[in-house]
């Protein structure tokens, strides 16, 4: 009875809600089994062979926290900075367009690892030399915080790629959307806020998810600039115990578990934000 009422109200919406999305859900569920499998593998190793696997997990757990902190904070900054640069890339203002374009081109042409080395080694050295020239005491004693420098380095790099994703998302919308909104008397900002960006973000959602997963994996690069992330802690464990196989098996499984979970989460968000067709 209730079902029949729903159908009468809006048959297309009813079908949409009930048919294809049910299929999507079972697909998502199937992939969660892989997540469970990896989790069980880690659990089995820790429980049945606590030496060395429980020791590795114990030793690297603060590294896991650092990896998550670096990943999430970098990602938040990337989104904010990337959005603004993306808007700059579609701006008619020549100065804004010029600055953001140069930024994107330069950053994309330098490897992330090199950029991290610049932020950790070269940037503090520049501050200290400037301090000497300007005779500012505090600048001369500047000491870079490795985690902060790593977050800045990753965000600055990833925001350049994010800017291009944002630009592509905005440009993929038909010009008629902008024209319709403007013809109703909406300002450019209102049009962006209410019409363009809400559609663009749905389109670029899969790409944003990919970026997050890449960022999570690339965060292992910060291990070379004195950040005690999961990778660096793994290397430290290996060099004290000489157990390369066990160490990197465990570290790989931990990364895999994190990326698989994020993939599933982004898929859920993607499905929820799809345009109703």
């Amino acid at each position: 009875m209730e079902e029949k009422d729903n159908r009468q109200e809006n048959p297309i919406q009813w079908l949409d809600k009930n048919l294809p999305q049910a299929g999507e859900l079972t697909k998502v569920d199937a992939w969660w089994w892989l997540v469970l499998l990896v989790f069980l593998a880690i659990l089995a190793l820790v429980v049945f062979k606590p030496d060395p696997y429980a020791r590795i997990l114990n030793f690297t757990q603060d590294g896991i926290v650092i990896t998550i902190v670096v990943t999430i904070s970098s990602f938040v900054l990337t989104m904010i900075f990337g959005l603004f640069c993306g808007l700059g890339r579609v701006s008619k203002n020549r100065i804004l367009y010029g600055i953001t374009s140069i930024y994107v081109e330069i950053i994309r042409g330098i490897p992330l690892l090199v950029q991290l080395l610049v932020w950790y080694f070269a940037f503090p050295a520049i501050i200290i030399q400037l301090g000497t020239i300007l005779k500012i005491e505090s600048m001369q004693r500047y000491l870079a915080n490795p985690v902060l420098m790593a977050i800045i380095g990753i965000s600055v790099c990833y925001a350049a790629y994010m800017a291009e994703i944002v630009r592509a998302g905005i440009e993929s919308l038909p010009a008629g959307q902008m024209e319709a909104a403007r013809s109703l008397g909406m300002t450019k900002t209102q049009t962006m806020q209410y019409v363009i960006l809400p559609q663009a973000y749905r389109i670029i959602m899969p790409a944003i998810g990919n970026e997050f997963i890449s960022l999570l994996k690339d965060s292992s690069l910060v291990s070379v600039v004195a950040v005690s992330d999961l990778t660096r802690r793994g290397r430290e464990f290996m060099s004290t115990t000489f157990m390369p196989i066990e160490t990197w098996l465990m570290v790989s499984l931990l990364y895999l578990l994190m990326t698989l979970i994020t993939t599933r989460l982004t898929k859920i968000i993607e499905n929820k934000t799809k345009l109703v067709k």
């Binding site: 008629g176 959307q177 024209e179 319709a180 013809s183 109703l184 008397g185 559609q199 109703v276």
Partner: protein, 244 residues
Amino acid sequence: MTEPIIQIKDVHKYFKNNIHALRGVSLDIYPGEVIVIIGPSGSGKSTLLRSINNLEEIDFGDITVGGLSVKDHHDINKLRMEVGMVFQQFNLFPHLTVLENITLAQRIVRKRSKKESYQNAMLLLEKVGIPEKAHAYPLQLSGGQQQRVAIARALAMNPKIMLFDEPTSALDPEMIQEVLEVMIQLSKEGITMVVVSHEMGFARAAADRTILMDEGKIVEIASHDELFTNPQEERTRLFLSKIL
């Protein structure tokens, strides 16, 4: 004589590829008038229409709407509030429901309350004949229904002028009539309408004046029957012989 509500004075428009799209168009449109513009593709009729609310920036000449010039960019949103526009491709916002499409600009541009804008939207949906689709999304509607929502969305701003840019050209033949009926109904209500269309049925039923454009110029202006029964220009005769 009343003041014209739209004054188009010697307007020229060049596109980036140096095409001279409008070559000195002048036209006065009076309040309540229904103008239909016809002409071959590339004749500049859509460009002229889009210049009226500055979707195309004109290069020479001037257009004023209700005393505001399209060249005064500070007032452009004020001008656009008074000028509704309906597009060939509907251009509804696909991420919003029909109701949200119609209320969005009312709320953020006209600053109406949620309740007022919703009531207004429902009245307009009744008027265009699809109140039951208020909570549907645009992509769930047929082309004809989408275009009627687009008309309701433009009307919701209470414009003094409505511009229609080939409103039925993207529709299947059986849906054209439902949109034309709404437009004919509208033309009887005293709103000023400028319509680019080849729907001669609409022109015959509603137009006060029909304008033929060709190569960026106005070739002939006539009351509708005159244009069809007794065209003055050879170009008009040629064009009509092809479309009728």
